[in-house]
Amino acid sequence: MILYDKIIIGITLGGALLLLLLAGVAKKWISNKWRMAYLVPTVAAMFVLAKEGFEIFMLGAYMGILLMLIGFLKEDAKVRQNCCISALILGLITIPVCMWSPKYRSVDYVQDFQDGIASMQEHYLLTEHKGIDWESLYEEYLPLFQEANRKQDAVANVIAWYRFAAEFRDGHVYFSMDDEETMEMAWERVCGNDYGLSLMPLQSGQVVAVNVEPDSTLSQAGIQNGTVITAWDGRQITEVATESVAYQMHSYADQDNEAFWLPIFAAGVGGESVRITYLDDAGKECQLDLPKLGNYYERLKNTMEIVNQGVETGHMMWEEIDEQTVCLRIKMMAFDKKSSQSSDYSGMQEEIRAKVQEYKEAGKTNLILDLRDNCGGDGQMVMALASLFAPPGEHYYCTDGLWDDLAANYVKDEKTGRFVPGKEHYFQGENIWGDHIAILVNSNSISAADHLTKIMQGMSNVTILGFTEANGSAQGIGEVMLESGTFRFSNALLLDKNGDIFIDSDTNRESGNDIDVRVPFDEEAVHALFDRGEDYILQYTMEHAW
């Protein structure tokens, strides 16, 4: 039971007991004003109801509270006592009714889905760009929400939302809720079984074992990080991976990024045991049966963290990597409250200028801007950062869509059906570093991090590196509040110089946010990451970017 309903029941039971005692006190001992006590439970309950709303299964307690009100109207002690006893009984009955009813405080997940999709259909900007067929999506996902609703299964509701959101191949379409436990349970439910390893594709196209459980059947058979796995339960690994619901819950705007991550999901697919086919040290194909060890979620999460190398560090932290190199970790495109409220990032720029001066004086020549796992934020901060490091002169950022206040929509060209460009944004470069800069990204570098990557692409003093491209989702986000959570999607339009959608991929699934150097995910990378725990991308950058 939720706290506020417990309070109502407390008011009912506590109020009934106290008023029962009061009703027994002879009239001559107390003044008429004491009858006001019979109003108190109703008034208190009204405030609680205003906070949490009406619940049909709490009707017994509500009726009990109203019965106590009769004591205010009738001075007869017997009537008052009977009302209080009835309220007490009703309050007591309400407890098991609420506790044992699966529909108590139930959420209408179907209505939530219908509200969410209706709002999205009205405001989502990329319908044509991404070739969205609303009707077929609705038909496909409605049964999932109906099933979640029938069982009142909050976890199934989260899974349905994630799968629905992933269909858009847009990192800005997502569902979230405050209840992190339910979100975790959703991932645990869909990740499948852990067989002691994860799978990642090498640049060569082979799939290898990674994050292998030490001292297990795998290690006894000689399977270690980097061992090539050729089949999973006798089937192609990529084919198996697409059956994983965990894969279906992940949204990849860019198909290259999806291909990079796809095999990881296969490693959770299977029953009590799976038969893997692998190449032994001599290159001979062997088979091994692996028993289920538990749930795959933790290993999947851990593998992703290791590969993504989103270094656990504070936001806007400077780190000296070696005598020549310094790294600025930018975890989000936000600096402080003052800057975000005023859109004035001159304070941040001053701090960065001072730091750059300090490091230049200390003889540093290489600067790395680490945008891995950068979750995005304010475009103004992107512009402020870009202007510090871009070569001198004017640079183009992007173009707002032209907004029609009367029509309350972005303007489209009637003939071509394309969005009409509005205000173009430019910034002045300073290049305060002077020397070359490397920018590190991963598939979690999204939104404003995508922006910074895009606008610094092709600059003569910049190299962008990563195992994968940045996320490839760049439009502004709007949200619709639902009963079970919040659903967000792209709704603020940004265009490029040609009037095309800025960064976000279309039906071809190419985001247009390419990197200069794709760090090879090879055997060396696997051993560096999973055996030696090194930050491979950073090391590769130091060796190859300058």
Binding site: N32, K33, R35, M36, L39, M46, F47, L49, A50, K51, G53, F54, L69, F72, L73, E75, S119, H123, S343, D378, G379, Q380, M383, Y397, C398, D400, G401, W403, D405, L406, A408, N409, Y410, G422, K423, H425, G476, G478, N491, A492, L493, L494
Partner: protein, 259 residues
């Protein structure tokens, strides 16, 4: 009863507390509600946008305090000099004595608070026009409906006044209520019809959709039409709770020992 009502109006017109409350509330409606809009906004918003974005809950805070003070003063001040007793001894029925105070409280307290609530919008319209963000008719319906929770609050504070028989205690409680409502979004983050105050919040709440440009300029899409659920919920809750409060107040007053 007509004479009691007339005497109440005679008294109200000369009541210093009510006069001062009126002056203070008008000043506050201009200073607190409109001044920030004048100072902070580079380009003044139209009134329809002001209603939807800025003019929500803040607009009825001071009128609410006015409503409480006026209701307490009308229904409670005669308890201090036992006027009720003299009226009863003079041959008036208890029902007449009761309604003779509640009706002026509804008219002056409820009606006055309603007009004071509209004052900032009126000034805004004169200065900046209505605009195109929301259809005028949709807001008018909301305003008309807002009168109902205000009248309900008069009934509820009348009940409280007849229970406690001291206008100044009610004003003190009203002040606490006023403080509570100032922080209402933190205390009761609710939009429903269970309390008069949450019902008013519900009627000022306009669902909006927001987009933005890179330079952070916001573009709003407002949806101000009310659902049948809200319209009928407001009517039923206001009438139901209002009548119940008056009935309870009258029952208490009827059985009350006036000595």
């Amino acid at each position: 009863m007509g004479n009691i009502i007339k005497s109440q109006f005679f008294q109200i017109v000369r009541d210093k507390v009510i006069r001062w409350m009126l002056v203070i509330t008008i000043s506050m409606q201009i200073l607190i509600i409109l001044l920030p809009d004048w100072l902070e906004t580079e380009e003044p918003t139209t009134t329809s946008e002001f209603f939807a974005v800025d003019g929500g809950m803040g607009v009825f805070m001071f009128p609410l305090f006015f409503l409480i003070v006026v209701t307490a003063e009308i229904c409670g001040v005669d308890f201090l000099d036992k006027t009720h007793n003299y009226e009863l001894m003079g041959g008036h029925r208890r029902k007449e004595v009761f309604l003779g105070r509640v009706i002026p409280a509804l008219v002056i307290g409820g009606g006055g608070a309603f007009l004071l609530m509209l004052l900032p919008y009126g000034i805004h319209v004169v200065l900046y026009g209505w605009g195109t963000k929301i259809a005028f008719g949709q807001v008018v319906l909301r305003w008309i409906l807002m009168l109902l929770p205000l009248l309900r609050l008069v009934c509820e504070f009348s009940l409280l006044t007849f229970l406690l028989k001291n206008p100044y205690v009610i004003m003190g409680l009203g002040y606490m209520f006023f403080i509570l409502t100032t922080y209402i979004s933190e205390v009761i983050d609710s939009f429903n019809v269970f309390l008069g105050i949450t019902n008013l919040s519900l009627l000022t709440m306009v669902s909006k959709w927001m987009t933005f440009g890179l330079d952070a300029k916001m573009n709003y899409i407002f949806e101000a039409s009310l659902s049948a659920e809200i319209v009928w919920g407001t009517i039923i809750a206001s009438v139901g709770f209002g009548v119940a409060a008056l009935y309870l107040g009258y029952v208490f007053f009827k059985h009350d020992d006036m000595n």
